[in-house]
């Protein structure tokens, strides 16, 4: 431990046990524990306690306190657990005389035994119960701990805490049981113990018997607790003894299936899947039967997650997979049946025919119907993306089902059956189902790409303009097929409508969609032709002046993308068609310099960087001028992310001039050799002309750390590139570095206003060589967070708060 921390610790311990002193901040004790955890993990705890007797003193005094504060008591329990994780320290704490003669005794039994907080008034506070469990969790690491747990009767308390009124406590109790079970089985019983448990350690035997009793219980809560313990056990422990455990418990689990209704079905599904995924699953044939039985016993909504889980399993009998897939398809089969004009099978594999149970669920209530459909669509969507999805994949009927659902949603379906009529009533205008169906459709379209999918698309397209949410927020809706162009004559009017929507969300999603579509199809003649013939590019241009900054930013990205493909013609003003409009570059530069919001300015920087990388026509026209103007605008930006992106652009420029940092990055793709790298002197001159040095050097002392870090990286790259060839120049006339160094000092002092003036490349290089950029990079990597997070700072803060906590303590945000 740091000597300074060691010095501060006694005072802090004194504060913690003083009931008159409030504990600073509710996060402080947590952070203190974090620190002790790192300290105890890094070295011997026993030494720590011996060198800092105030810690044991703290534990004693908290125990002896008449009315201990729950937070401090909880902290002490957890702290004691951390120390006792090491066996020698555990023994030390078992019988520890305190430095104070009046305080002696067996510390750990006093903390965790029945004479401790367990029986006291403080036990009513959940934080104390939680601290007790967490303390034991840390402590239970060695055989000695097991004996201790048995001696102090802790396991029985943990059993009762499984049903605690606090979720956190109950969950921690369950996890602790698993941990203790695994610890107990780690010792002599490791191997293949008998299922009967006669050779199991007493502690493990006790826990398993408790689980058995709980599984037999008629109270659902107890069954749930037992199932959760087992789920965690099979999820985390993969030792051979878990096989014996399953053999012993599986009949009891199977008994649950015979009850009606099945208790704790959700937890049961979790357990069965957890077992199936563990090594136990591959060796137990009975498990597959249990899974099949469970699938058929559960209601459609409950069976969905189990079916998906089964289909995700690597090794599982084909028959079970078929059954599971059938369960997932049932709701869609029902929909197809209900929507069918003519009788006939829905076209799904055998087993998915739209059974009566699913129909009953559909008819029971609106929320049940909506819930089941959304769940089925979400599960099938997930499944479609997996390599182990069922084959053959019923692409065509799935597409038909999704289309049918969409038709039900916007009321264009003509139902012929009762169920169809019911679906019409329930799904009409239901945005949630509509969204789910579209998401599913999007994923389907990315799927196999088989030709059978195509007719579906054309069917769906007319549905698109109807719904309000159809171009989903976020990334453009994947309902756009990647492999096959959408019917553009239908798509573009929809897009145009959305770009004119009064909702910013719709305009923004429209623009994001356009960007994506252009990225994929920008080179395809049909798309180019249709797009140019539509008003979409003009509208996009107009949205550069949208009142909503998110939309302006998306418009910047979209125009940038359009322009990269030559699809953006600068709009001519309708009032003055004869006036030559400014280029997109000028317009974006204007946004960069004047927009009051960060999003559009950042978007402009992204577009410019991309243009520079791609060699965009506007950039290639006068590369130096482009870079100079952009850097000038970026350097003055108040948003550090814009400044950081300015440096990103500067780096791309540097790489283009000097070549990739090949020697450092063996995977980098070399630039085309069309334009041979210029000589270093020319490059440096160019960098001076575009004022890249001034920008980068200023950024080195930026008040925002990421900017300084980026600049440091850039200058290091430059230094590395320039140094090998820099020798002769260095040997020549010594450049005038005084003015540069003076400016750097001013900037470092925070005086950003001073300009640097004309720069000599040699002077800059000389300054760079003399600077300890590596050291600076190391310091920046630590950041001032290094100070904020240090234990010393924490201890100082906690001590400093003593006595000054008044009104401000509860004055939150």
């Amino acid at each position: 431990m740091d000597p300074e921390c060691s010095r501060l610790l006694p005072a802090l311990c004194a504060v913690l046990v003083d009931p008159r002193q409030p504990v600073a901040d509710d996060t402080c004790l947590e952070k203190l524990l974090d620190w002790f955890k790192t300290v105890t993990e890094a070295g011997p705890s026993l030494l720590l306690l011996q060198e800092n007797p105030c810690l044991v003193e703290l534990l004693f005094r908290v125990l002896k306190a008449h009315d201990p504060r729950p937070r401090v008591l909880s902290f002490s329990l957890r702290l004691a657990g951390l120390f006792a994780a090491q066996e020698d320290c555990f023994q030390y704490l078992q019988v520890t005389p305190s430095s104070s003669v009046s305080q002696q005794g067996e510390l750990l039994p006093m903390l965790f035994g029945e004479s401790g907080p367990l029986g006291g008034a403080a036990w009513t506070a959940p934080t104390v119960r939680s601290g007790w469990l967490q303390g034991l969790r840390s402590l239970a690491q060695h055989p000695g701990a097991l004996r201790f747990l048995a001696d102090c009767g802790a396991v029985d308390t943990i059993f009762s805490l499984q049903g605690d009124s606090s979720l956190f406590v109950a969950s921690a109790a369950g996890q602790l049981l698993v941990h203790i079970l695994a610890l107990a089985m780690r010792g002599p019983a490791e191997g293949h113990p008998s299922p009967q448990g006669c050779d199991w350690p007493a502690c493990a035997q006790k826990i398993v018997c408790h689980v058995e009793d709980s599984l037999r219980s008629t109270a659902t809560l107890q069954v749930t607790q037992a199932l959760n313990v087992l789920t965690t056990t099979f999820g985390h422990c993969h030792s051979p003894w878990t096989q014996g455990l399953w053999v012993r418990l599986s009949p009891l689990v199977a008994c649950l299936l015979e009850k009606d209704p099945i208790p704790a079905s959700h937890s049961l599904v979790d357990l069965l899947l957890s077992v199936a995924r563990s090594p136990v699953g591959s060796s137990d044939c009975g498990l597959w039967e249990t899974l099949a039985q469970t699938l058929s016993h559960l209601s459609p909504t409950q069976a969905g997650p189990l079916a998906l889980g089964i289909l995700k399993l690597q090794d599982c009998p084909q028959a079970l997979k078929t059954q599971a897939f059938g369960v997932l398809l049932q709701p869609l089969a029902c929909v197809l049946k209900a929507a069918a004009q003519a009788p006939g099978p829905p076209g799904f594999p055998e087993g998915a025919t739209g059974d009566s149970i699913t129909v009953d669920t559909f008819l029971s209530s609106k929320s049940a119907c909506v819930g089941l459909l959304c769940q089925a669509l979400a599960h099938l969507e997930l499944l479609q993306l997996l390599p182990q999805r069922p084959s053959p994949w019923p692409q065509a009927p799935l597409l038909r089902a999704a289309v049918a659902i969409l038709r039900f949603c916007h009321g264009s379906a003509a139902p012929t059956s009762d169920v169809g009529g019911h679906l019409c009533a329930v799904l009409a205008g239901c945005v949630r189902v509509q969204r789910a169906a579209l998401d599913f459709l999007g994923t389907l379209s990315q799927g196999t790409g088989s030709e059978e999918g195509l007719p579906g698309h054309t069917q769906v397209a007319p549905g698109l303009p109807q719904g309000p949410q159809l171009l989903r927020p976020g990334p453009p809706h994947p309902a756009v097929p990647r492999r096959y162009p959408w019917p553009l004559q239908e798509l573009l009017p929809v897009l145009r409508k959305r770009l004119c929507s009064p909702c910013w969300e719709a305009r923004d999603s429209g623009l994001e969609f356009l960007t994506q579509v252009t990225r994929h199809w920008g080179g395809q003649a049909a798309f180019r032709h249709a797009l140019l013939a539509s008003e979409v590019p003009e509208l996009t241009g107009q949205l550069l002046r949208d009142p909503e900054s998110y939309v302006r930013a998306s418009a910047v990205t979209a125009t940038g993308q359009l322009s990269s493909w030559g699809l953006y013609a600068t709009p001519t003003g309708p009032e003055h068609p004869e006036v030559q409009q400014e280029s997109l570059f000028t317009e974006l530069l204007h946004i960069l310099s004047t927009d009051s919001e960060g999003f559009p300015r950042r978007a402009v920087m992204h577009v410019f960087t991309q243009w520079l990388k791609d060699g965009h026509a506007d950039v290639a026209e006068d590369l130096e001028q482009f870079v100079a103007r952009v850097l000038q605008a970026a350097s003055q930006d108040l948003d550090w992310e814009v400044r950081a992106q300015g440096l990103e652009l500067a780096l791309v420029f540097l790489e283009q001039l000097l070549g990739q940092p090949g020697s450092r990055c063996p995977y980098a793709v070399a630039l085309p050799e069309a334009a041979p790298p210029a000589t270093l002197a020319q490059v440096l001159q160019a960098l001076c002309r575009v004022q890249l040095f001034e920008f980068a050097l200023r950024a080195l002392f930026d008040c925002d750390r990421p900017v300084a870090q980026k600049s440091c990286d850039l200058l290091l790259f430059l230094k590395a590139k320039a140094t090998p060839c820099g020798g002769p120049q260095e040997a020549g006339a010594s450049p005038d570095v005084v003015s540069v160094e003076a400016a750097l000092q001013r900037w470092q002092a925070g005086e950003q206003g001073q300009p640097l003036g004309e720069l000599e490349p040699e002077a800059v290089m000389a300054v760079l060589r003399s600077m300890d950029l590596e050291g600076l990079r190391g310091m920046l990597a630590k950041s001032s967070d290094h100070m904020e997070k240090s234990p010393q700072s924490l201890l100082q803060d906690m001590l400093a708060t003593v006595g000054v906590l008044g009104e401000n303590e509860a004055d939150c945000y």
Binding site: D26, S596, G750, D785, M787
Partner: protein, 599 residues
């Protein structure tokens, strides 16, 4: 029995990050989704694993409601919707919807800047999350689905802050979020109607405090700023871009105008422009005074407050600068602080709470030598002041709100356990309602009595009215009829109508009893004696002697028969209907006493 369950994942006996789960009428609602700024790892977010266990989140949770834009109430929202995977509706008021992303973005930039953190949401995630938001108007009932509806009430506190009523059938819960019962310079006081919810979940930040007048604090603040500026010093006020910053701007602007002061006031970031724009846009959400004067002069168009340029910090002479972030832990405010900290003439005023580890926290706790990067030590000579402008209801305000809403139960959140305990007792004593204060993770379960609507048939009502009893909603009264449950509908009809509707024949149930009498006379004579006796005793009732020899009193039938074994004993067979049960019992007991001797 239906029940309401409440589990705080945050704000249960603390003021960290509000996140409260409510189950009502089978619907699950999350109230607020806040972040704890005191942590820089996953602990800053509520532990959502307890709800993700229930399968797909969107299936389990019906909606999320955000009370206002402070990060301890909405900071985890992009994490929850974009990283944890909630895809359902999110409700908040329009100003919250507009301002929330600014604050989230502000915080994201600081978090990423200073901490270089992983597992934090991006700009795109904030935007995608905001697209899932549904804006609600005050007092507008929003139907989340067929059964669940919500309604927003004005909460004061900050622009757009709202209290929400959540209703499923006849059960309802009101969640206050943070609120203020006294109007301040730009906002009005919280208000709710007498909605009598089953449960009121209220914040209790100042559970034990009766706050002094805000005017005093404002005067104090202005005095300190004025004195510093007068002696040529500089004043730094670290703020978050919104909320308190606007309040202080109005305060200084009016003071500057009144005192004709010339020292410049700067606002350090472009964010505020947008913030001020929103304050202008949402003028209906501000208080009456601002709304009234709006036409002549918009309070948010500041004459004296100008945008700050980094170079200004080095300018000589006095000035006041508002700079972000508010806890002096990064960026512009920290940079200016470093420059000005060395001079006794300058002053920093912290108008809000600072978490441990920040420079703001250190100087507020009195530390004057701060270790900065690279082992540099910064000596703080400037004056450090703390000014609380927090707009929470104090104990009096909380009691006032409970009085207004008249809930059946109260649940306290967003406060400290000890102070809550005090307020809990006070509420229980004064309002005679149960008050709860669960810790995080603890579930409070309340049983509610369901109220089931029953239709009454016109016939039955008419019959009641015929008896001169007009229906009165305020006076509950007993009504006899037959309850028919059909197609999940309940109807109360007359028994005749019920029989008719159900196609059933009427059956009569009669009670019978045998009374033995010592009488040697013939049966007919005994019957006659019974008749005479009853006639004389029951003067108000209709007693008849029928030709077949039996006697009737109302529906009660009495027949005399000979005893099969004892000829000197006669058996009286008495039978009566349920309606005349009382009279029947009385008659039996009367007859058991025997007949008077014939005179």
């Amino acid at each position: 029995m239906p029940e309401i369950r409440v589990t705080p994942l945050g704000a249960g006996q603390d003021v960290g990050r509000s996140c409260i789960l409510v189950s009502i009428g089978g619907k699950n609602v999350m109230l607020d989704c806040g972040m704890h700024m005191g942590f820089s790892d996953d602990r800053r977010f509520p532990d959502f694993s307890y709800i993700t266990r229930n399968g797909r989140l969107t299936d389990f949770l019906d909606c999320v409601i955000i009370s206002h834009f402070h990060l301890d109430h909405c900071g985890a929202l992009p994490y929850f919707s974009e990283m944890v995977g909630y895809d359902g509706p999110i409700y908040m008021t329009q100003p919250t919807q507009a301002i929330c992303p600014i604050l989230l973005e502000d915080y994201r930039k600081i978090a990423v800047d200073k901490k270089g953190e992983a597992n934090f949401f991006t700009s795109q995630m904030i935007k995608d999350c905001m697209k899932k938001v549904v804006a609600v108007h005050l007092h507008q009932t929003v139907q989340v689905d067929d059964e669940l509806e919500i309604k927003a009430y004005y909460a004061g506190h900050v622009l757009g802050a709202a209290m929400f009523q959540i209703k499923v059938g006849s059960e309802s819960v009101v969640y206050t979020g943070d609120y203020n019962m006294t109007p301040d310079r730009h906002l009005g006081a919280a208000w709710i109607d007498k909605c009598r919810p089953n449960l009121l979940i209220t914040e209790s930040t100042y559970a034990t405090t009766i706050r002094d007048s805000k005017r005093c604090r404002e005067r104090d603040f202005l005095k300190k700023v004025h004195e510093t500026v007068e002696r040529g010093g500089k004043v730094l006020i670290p703020v978050f871009a919104l909320g308190r910053a606007q309040e202080l701007c109005i305060l200084l602007e009016t003071f500057w105008e009144r005192m004709d002061l010339k020292a410049p006031i700067y606002f350090s970031t472009g964010l505020t422009e947008k913030a001020n724009h929103y304050y202008k846009l949402f003028i209906p959400w501000t208080n009456q005074k601002i709304r009234k004067t709006f036409v002549q002069r918009n309070m948010f168009e500041f004459k004296h407050i100008k945008a700050f340029d980094r170079a200004f910090a080095d300018s000589p002479g006095p000035m006041v600068v508002f700079a972000t972030p508010g806890m002096l832990h990064a960026g512009q405010s920290l940079q200016i602080f470093r420059k000005w900290a060395g001079s006794e003439r300058n002053m920093v005023i912290m108008p809000g709470y600072c978490v441990q580890g920040t420079v703001g926290h250190k100087i507020l706790s009195g530390q004057r030598k701060l270790e900065m990067e690279g082992r540099q030590v910064l000596e703080v000579k400037m004056q450090v002041e703390y000014m609380s402008f927090s707009a929470h209801a104090d104990a009096k305000g909380i009691m006032q709100l409970v009085g207004q809403a008249e809930p059946e139960n109260v649940l306290l959140v967003h406060g400290e356990a000890k102070k809550m305990e005090f307020l809990k007792q006070k509420i229980e004593q004064e309002f005679r309602v149960s008050c709860y204060m669960p810790a995080n993770g603890e579930t409070v379960t309340l049983s509610t009595s369901p109220s089931i609507p029953v239709g009454i048939s016109l016939g039955l009502l008419k019959r009641e009215m015929a008896q001169g009893l007009l229906p009165d909603a305020k006076k509950p009264r007993l009504l006899h009829g037959t309850l028919i449950m059909k197609d999940s509908n309940f109807r109360l009809v007359s028994s005749e109508q019920a029989l008719k509707e159900l196609g059933l024949a009427e059956h009569q149930l009669r009670f019978t009893c045998r009374v033995h009498l010592h009488d040697t006379r013939k049966e007919q004579e005994t019957a006659l004696r019974v008749y005479s006796h009853l006639k004389s005793v029951l003067k108000d009732h209709c007693v008849q002697h029928l030709p077949d020899g039996s006697v009737t009193v109302e529906s009660i039938l009495i027949q005399a028969a000979a005893h099969s074994e004892d000829p000197s004993t006669k058996v009286l067979l008495v039978s009566w209907t349920y309606q005349d049960e009382e009279l029947g019992s009385y008659l039996t007991s009367l007859l058991k006493k025997g007949l008077p001797q014939a005179s």
